[in-house]
C-alpha cells in the first residue's frame, strides 16, 4: 500500500477534490473544540451557511486524525498478535452499525489519495452498500475506485475473499459482524476472553464434535473457526469455507474489523491459518455440481442468482472475475502475477488436496 497522507480540510477550503493540508499534523485546523465552526444566528442560518460547501468541513477521509491514528495503532497491534482481537474506539459513522462501519473506519484510516479502492459485498461490486462505501471513499479520501481485484490497493469486502490471488501490496479489509468464534458456545465475552488468554478451546472442539455427530461431517456453513499462527482461535468473518484456505500463508495482509463490537484483528502475510478439524473428519470446502453458467468456471465459488427474467442461474459469486473469464475462459487466478502456481485455496495448483475436496469437475487443476 502507498504511504497514507494525512490531511485536514476546513471550511476555508471549498472543494473536497482539491488541496489537502500537507503538514502531516493531525486535526489542528478544526481547533481544540473539534467540530466545524459555523457563523449563524439560528439553525436555518447554520444550514444555509453550510449549503453549497459540499464536503467542506470534513476532514480528509471523513474521520478526524485522532480516530485514524487510533485505528492504525489497533491495526499494528493486531498484526503484532495475529488472530487476537484488539479493541478500538469505534466511531459513529454515517450508516448504521452492522453495515460495515468497522470496515469503513479501517479502510478510511489506511487510504491515501494515491490509493485505489475496491469494495465488494458478497462477491458483488454493484450492491447498494458497496456502491455507497465506494462513493464515500471517493468523495472524502479522493481515491480512485475500481472493480478489478488486481488493480486495487485496498479492498473492503463483506463475506468473500476474491478469487484472484491477492499480492503482497494489497490489503483486504473484511467486515465482521461477530468477532468471537467462542460466542457460539458461550455468550459470556468475559469467560471467552479468559479462554483466549489460556488457549482453552475445548468448548469449540465440542461444538465441532457435536456437528459431526449430527451431520456425519463438519457442517459449518460460514464463520468457520480457524487457528491463527498456532495460537488464537479466530472467526474469519462469514466467508464461505471455500475462502478459508486462502487465509493460510497468503502474500497479502488481511484485516478484520467490527464497528459494532469495536474490535480489529489481523492475519499478517505468510501466517499459518488452520481450520479446526478432526484427523478423521477433515475440513472440506463447498462442493458444486455444475460449472458457472456464465463463464463455465469449475474452480470458483458459485451461488444461485435470479435473473430479471426470473431464471435461476448458478454463477460465479465473484462477479468481476467472472466477467474476465467470460472474455478469457482460461484465465488463471494468478494471471496478473509474475509467477504462477500460486496456492490460493480450492482450484489452484498447490492447494492441499488432503484437506480440501476439489470442485466436482476438477477445475483447471493440473
Amino acid at each position: 500500500m502507498k504511504p497514507t497522507r494525512t490531511g485536514v480540510r476546513t471550511v476555508s477550503e471549498p472543494d473536497c477534490g482539491e488541496s489537502h493540508a500537507s503538514d502531516g499534523t493531525t486535526g489542528e485546523a478544526t481547533g481544540e473544540s473539534g467540530g466545524t465552526p459555523v457563523e449563524a444566528e439560528d439553525v436555518d442560518g447554520a444550514l444555509a451557511a453550510l449549503d453549497g460547501a459540499g464536503l467542506a468541513g470534513y476532514n480528509y477521509a471523513y474521520l478526524d486524525e485522532h480516530t485514524k491514528r487510533e485505528v492504525r495503532r489497533a491495526v499494528l497491534k493486531a498484526i503484532a498478535i495475529p488472530g487476537h482481537q484488539v479493541p478500538f474506539a469505534s466511531r459513529p459513522m454515517p450508516l448504521a452499525r452492522g453495515w460495515g462501519t468497522g470496515g469503513i473506519q479501517t479502510t478510511l484510516s489506511l487510504l491515501g489519495p494515491e490509493d485505489t479502492l475496491k469494495v465488494i459485498d458478497q462477491g458483488s461490486d454493484e450492491s447498494v452498500n458497496a456502491a455507497n462505501i465506494r462513493r464515500l471513499a471517493e468523495r472524502t479520501a479522493d481515491v480512485e475506485t475500481t472493480t478489478d481485484t488486481t488493480a486495487a490497493d485496498v479492498i473492503q469486502t463483506r463475506h468473500r475473499i476474491p478469487e484472484e490471488v491477492l499480492d503482497r501490496d494489497q490489503v483486504l479489509v473484511l467486515q465482521v459482524p461477530v468477532t468471537d468464534p467462542l460466542r457460539k458456545v458461550d455468550p459470556s465475552d468475559a469467560a471467552n476472553r479468559r479462554r483466549h488468554a489460556h488457549a482453552n478451546y475445548g468448548k469449540m472442539w465440542v461444538h465441532l464434535y457435536e456437528n459431526v455427530v449430527e451431520y456425519g461431517e463438519i457442517q459449518v456453513a460460514s464463520r468457520y473457526p480457524v487457528t491463527v499462527a498456532g495460537r488464537y482461535l479466530m472467526d474469519p468473518s462469514p466467508i464461505p469455507r471455500w475462502d478459508v484456505p486462502k487465509l493460510n500463508d497468503a502474500d497479502n495482509l488481511f484485516l478484520f474489523a467490527a464497528g459494532r463490537e469495536a474490535r480489529i484483528y489481523a492475519v499478517p502475510p505468510h501466517t499459518d491459518v488452520e481450520p479446526l478439524a478432526f484427523d478423521d473428519r477433515p475440513f472440506q470446502v463447498e462442493r458444486f455440481d455444475a460449472p458457472c453458467e456464465a463463464c463455465g468456471a469449475t474452480d470458483t465459488y458459485r451461488t444461485a442468482v435470479e435473473t430479471d427474467e426470473g431464471d435461476r442461474l448458478v454463477v460465479c459469486n465473484d462477479t468481476s472475475f467472472c466477467l474476465k473469464r467470460r472474455e478469457d475462459a482460461g484465465l488463471a487466478k494468478d494471471h496478473h502475477l509474475d509467477r504462477d502456481g500460486v496456492d490460493w485455496g480450492p482450484g489452484t495448483p498447490d492447494a492441499d488436496d488432503t484437506d480440501q475436496e476439489p470442485a466436482t469437475n476438477g477445475g483447471d487443476r493440473t
Binding site: V185, D186, H198, N200, Y201, G202, K203, W205, V206, Y209, E210, V212, V213, E214, F278, D279, D280, R281
Partner: protein, 275 residues
C-alpha cells in the same frame, strides 16, 4: 505409592490477626477468631492418598471439608491459603504453581466433581459432548477415538448410550451426575475429588450412582477424595476417613473403625444422630 499429599493445609477468610488459629478449632469450639473475626475454614490439615485408595472427609456444614477439597483440587478460592499440596509426577508445592501447571494437572491427572452439576457440566451440550470436551481440550484430534472413549465410559457408568447425543439438560439428575463422573474419569486421572456427590439426587438414585462410581474407581485404580456430610456416602466409598469439625481433623482411621468404634465425642455424636 503416594499420589497426592497435603501438608499443613490452611485457609483463612478475613484479615487474620495472627492468633486466629490458636483461638479457634475443636478445643475452642469455634472456627471464627474471637479477636479479629477471621473465619478459619480449615487449619493444619495433613493427609496423603495412595494410588487406588479412597479417602472420605466427613463433617457438617462449616467444618472446613469443602475448603479442604478446594485446596486439594487446586481450585482458586478466596481467602488466604497456606500449606503444600504435592502430586506424583509434578514438582514442588502445587498451591504455588503457575496457571499452566495447574491447568495441565487438572486436565490430565486430577479431576474435581463439583457439588453443583451446573458448575461441572455445560447443560446445553450433549452428554457425550461434555465428556468429549476434556480429551479434545487435551489435544485428541481423532473424532472416532473420542467418540469411542465417550461411548465406553457411558457404558461403564451405566448411562444409556442411546442418549449420549441428547442435550445434558434433558437428562435426569442421576444421569447428569453420572455424566459428570464420566467427564472426570475420561482422561484417566490418578485422583478424583468428589464434593458432596449425592447433592440433588433422590435417595433411591444416590446409592446406585455411588455404587457405579465405586466399581469404576476400582476397575481403573483411580484414587479418590470423597467429601460429604453424609456418613452413608463415605461408608459406601471410602477406605479411610477423616472427621472434621471447626476446621480441624478431629479423628481419622479406617472407615468401618470410625463408624463402629468412634473415639471422639463429636464423631460419636455424629454417628448417633445419623445411623
Amino acid at each position: 505409592m503416594t499420589v497426592l499429599s497435603g501438608t499443613g493445609l490452611t485457609r483463612l477468610y478475613g484479615d487474620p490477626c495472627g492468633d486466629c488459629e490458636s483461638l479457634t478449632g475443636d478445643d475452642a469450639g469455634r472456627n471464627r477468631c474471637p479477636a479479629c473475626g477471621t473465619i478459619v475454614a480449615c487449619a493444619d490439615v495433613s493427609l496423603d492418598i495412595e494410588r487406588g485408595e479412597v479417602l472420605g472427609v466427613v463433617g457438617e456444614s462449616g467444618s472446613g471439608k469443602s475448603s479442604l477439597a478446594e485446596l486439594l483440587a487446586l481450585e482458586r478460592g478466596e481467602g488466604h491459603s497456606r500449606g503444600s499440596v504435592r502430586f506424583d509426577g509434578y514438582e514442588g508445592n502445587l498451591l504455588e504453581s503457575d496457571y499452566d501447571t495447574r491447568t495441565r494437572l487438572r486436565n490430565d491427572d486430577l479431576a474435581l466433581v463439583h457439588q453443583h452439576i451446573r458448575d461441572g457440566l455445560t447443560l446445553s451440550f450433549s452428554g457425550g459432548g461434555n465428556v468429549a470436551e476434556k480429551p479434545l481440550a487435551a489435544g485428541e484430534r481423532s473424532f472416532e477415538a473420542v467418540r469411542e472413549r465417550v461411548r465406553s465410559l457411558f457404558e461403564q457408568l451405566e448411562v444409556p448410550v442411546d442418549r449420549m447425543d441428547d442435550p445434558a439438560e434433558t437428562y435426569s439428575g442421576g444421569m447428569q451426575r453420572r455424566v459428570q463422573l464420566a467427564r472426570a474419569l475420561v482422561t484417566d486421572p490418578a485422583v478424583v475429588v468428589l464434593d458432596e456427590p449425592t447433592t440433588g439426587l433422590d435417595v433411591s438414585v444416590q446409592a446406585r450412582v455411588l455404587d457405579t462410581f465405586r466399581r469404576v474407581q476400582r476397575e481403573r485404580g483411580v484414587a479418590a477424595v470423597v467429601v460429604s456430610h453424609d456418613l452413608g456416602v463415605v461408608r459406601l466409598l471410602a477406605d479411610r476417613t477423616l472427621v472434621m469439625r471447626h476446621g480441624r481433623v478431629v479423628e481419622r482411621g479406617l472407615t468401618d473403625r470410625i463408624l463402629e468404634d468412634p473415639h471422639h465425642a463429636y464423631t460419636q455424636q455424629l454417628i448417633n444422630s445419623t445411623l
